[in-house]
């Protein structure tokens, strides 16, 4: 699914940009639910991540949501040419064919055979007597049969958590900006906040203020994001919404300290500017000296 984010709530400013569907997309649906999110920042990355999203959805057997925004989706951008590797194969994930089904004693659609939380699936019509199952929204056991047994339900919920852990190593890694090591401050950003964040870093450099930087490219967060937060005293989280949604997500999922994460927010419907980021970082550093 591709969500071209614009300002909300409801129809909001329909022709303006925002990054305000982060929390909604991350936890969409009722019950304990988490979704895989991808955050492209350029037209070329939109192209590449869309192809990756199909592979991830099949490998992890779950919907993948790509969060772009109106700035990226509708404004003109200068882009590097798109490239495609003609040797690339679609990743279908764990799909059993008829011969493989024959070798299995009993097929369990939700049975965690490999311990990575991702079970094997079958495509309808594959085998005359094996591999068919009933997909249902209700609780079910490892063999796809309806059950309200507490143990079976919890086991499946825990398996989904194992799958979530597995997906951390499959989604795109964050992009780290090579800077001098040992900076006390870091900045975290994603999507179209990238251009302005990079420009702000240059502006800060001219004033001899050095920060490390990381661009988040996916949720669940890679271990590198955790390490980045741990290795800095202060982290500026730059995003284009009122409620500092990415900052909340970092706090919830990585138990990052709220005191450490300083929000830099823009939610006027226009793309965030380098000037705003530059000013707010400088202001904060001056105030805390």
């Amino acid at each position: 699914m591709i969500d071209v984010q614009r300002s909300g709530p409801s129809t909001g400013m329909p022709t303006r940009t925002q990054q305000s569907d982060v929390l909604e997309a991350a936890y969409a649906s009722h019950g304990d639910t988490k979704h895989i999110l991808l955050f492209p920042s350029t037209p070329r990355e939109c192209f590449e991540m869309t192809a990756d999203a199909f592979d991830l959805a099949e490998q992890i057997q779950t919907p993948v949501i790509m969060l772009t925004d109106l700035d990226l989706g509708m404004n003109d951008h200068l882009s590097e040419p798109f490239v495609w590797d003609d040797n690339r194969k679609y990743k279908r994930g764990k799909v059993l064919n008829a011969e493989e089904l024959d070798k299995i004693k009993r097929f369990g659609r939700y049975l965690d055979v490999d311990g990575d939380g991702i079970p094997y699936r079958t495509i309808p019509g594959t085998h005359p007597t094996k591999g068919s199952f009933f997909t249902r929204g209700t609780s079910r056991d490892e063999y796809a049969a309806y059950t309200e047994d507490s143990g079976a339900y919890q086991k499946n919920m825990d398996r989904l958590m194992v799958k979530w852990e597995t997906s951390k190593s499959l989604v795109p890694k964050p992009f780290s900006y090579p800077t001098n090591k040992g900076n006390a401050c870091g900045i975290l950003f994603f999507g179209t906040s990238t251009y302005s964040s990079e420009e702000a870093m240059d502006m800060l450099k001219e004033e001899n203020v050095f920060v490390d930087a990381m661009r988040i490219r996916a949720f669940p967060f890679n271990q590198d994001v955790n390490a980045f937060i741990d290795s800095h005293e202060t982290i500026f989280v730059i995003e284009q919404n009122r409620d500092a949604q990415m900052r909340s997500l970092l706090m919830i999922e990585l138990q990052a300290s709220p005191q450490k994460l300083i929000p830099i927010l823009n939610y006027d419907g226009m793309p965030i500017t380098a000037n705003q980021i530059f000013k707010e970082i400088k202001q904060h550093l001056t105030n805390t000296k």
Binding site: P81, F82, I123, P124, G125, G131, F134
Partner: protein, 350 residues
């Protein structure tokens, strides 16, 4: 109370051409109320698939939410099933059918699932002429939530608490005909002999085949004053015709009186023979079918049988000209235009 269905079956149960007996087409034990019309419809589905020699793994059964949508668990346990979100079965069926055109798609829904929450989905799956059988188990009430009136409850019909329905009902069969469906039938869950040939014909129809089955809710809508109770339906039912489904290659052996029958040829060579009971009605004429249904409604009758059929129906795949090979077995070679095509796109943006 704990009860189990005995596994024992008569060893000499007749087998179909595939070597399966009818129990191979059954499902889990139904948890619906005893006497529920839906179970009779499930039984008719089981019998139809047995008779048609369908390989269960080549059929996909889909449903939404409601008592009706629980039934796919109670038939064809060797088929793939999908119990979708409420009212969203048509979307899932559309996706599945587009991915693999070679399976038989059987959708089961109810009056709440189709005429209320899923109405938007229903009308679009009809107009797209998706090749599927769509059965609505219509009881005029929300059985799963204690019997509130549904959108198909007739105006003036009384519910179990004696309250009269004040609103006009939605007639799904008429709606389907108006929206361009190529196969529209209506039946009654108490009339298995009519339902089975209708289901079989529907499965052979190359496009959207709709069967609206009046299926009384024994618990919440079987009271005096309800127009969807067993007694009311039995007293007010009017069959348009008797129906015979004649598979391809089979010889028509039944004798029909001259002038009283209409034979409808299906694309695969099979045919339907309708013995008309209603005068001045042509099942291959949309106007005639709608008129017959409107007249029946004015008389307070429920018209059943084959209401409308278009022998020249062409399904969604034909209309949008997809490949004959199911899309889900195409590979990178067939699907990916590759780097040369991409270079053209890059060039066009320079």
């Amino acid at each position: 109370m704990t009860y189990v269905r005995p596994k024992f079956r008569h060893p000499e149960l007749p087998k179909n051409k595939l070597g399966y007996s009818v129990d191979y087409y059954e499902g889990a034990l139904s948890t619906l109320c005893a006497g529920c019309g839906h179970d009779s419809i499930s039984a008719a589905i089981v019998q139809s698939c047995f008779d048609l020699n369908i390989e269960p793994h080549r059929l996909a059964k889909l449903s939404g939410i409601g008592c009706s949508s629980k039934t796919p668990a109670y038939f064809l346990s060797n088929s793939h099933g999908f119990n979708s979100v409420h009212g969203r079965m048509p979307s899932v069926a559309t996706g599945a059918n587009l991915a693999n055109r070679d399976l038989i798609y059987l959708g089961v829904s109810g009056d709440g699932d189709s005429a209320s929450i899923g109405m938007g989905q229903f009308v679009h799956v009809v107009r797209r002429n998706l090749n599927m059988v769509y059965i609505v188990m219509n009881n005029g009430c929300y059985g799963l939530t204690k019997g509130q009136d549904s959108a198909t409850a007739d105006m003036g019909s009384k519910n179990k608490s004696g309250k009269t329905n004040l609103f006009e009902s939605i007639d799904l069969a008429s709606l389907a005909i108006e929206l361009g469906a190529g196969f529209v039938a209506q039946s009654f869950s108490g009339d298995k002999s009519q339902m089975i040939p209708l289901i079989k014909a529907a499965m052979n129809h190359p496009g959207f085949a709709f069967i609206n089955v009046i299926s009384p809710c024994v618990t919440f809508n079987n009271n005096v004053g309800s127009t969807k109770s067993y007694d009311y339906v039995r007293q007010h039912i009017e069959a348009t015709s008797t129906i015979d489904f004649v598979p391809e290659m089979a010889e028509i052996t039944t004798k029909y009186e001259e002038g009283s029958t209409a034979t409808v040829k299906m694309h695969d060579g099979s045919s339907m023979v309708l013995s008309k009971l209603e005068e001045n009605w042509d099942p291959t004429n949309r106007h005639s079918a709608i008129n017959a249904m409107q007249s029946a409604k004015e008389r307070g009758e429920i018209l059943t049988g084959m209401l409308f059929v278009d022998g020249d129906s062409q399904d969604l795949h034909h209309v949008i000209q997809t490949s004959d090979t199911p899309l889900n077995i195409l590979t990178e070679r067939d699907l990916c235009p590759g780097s040369i095509a991409l270079e053209d796109i890059n060039a066009s943006l320079r």
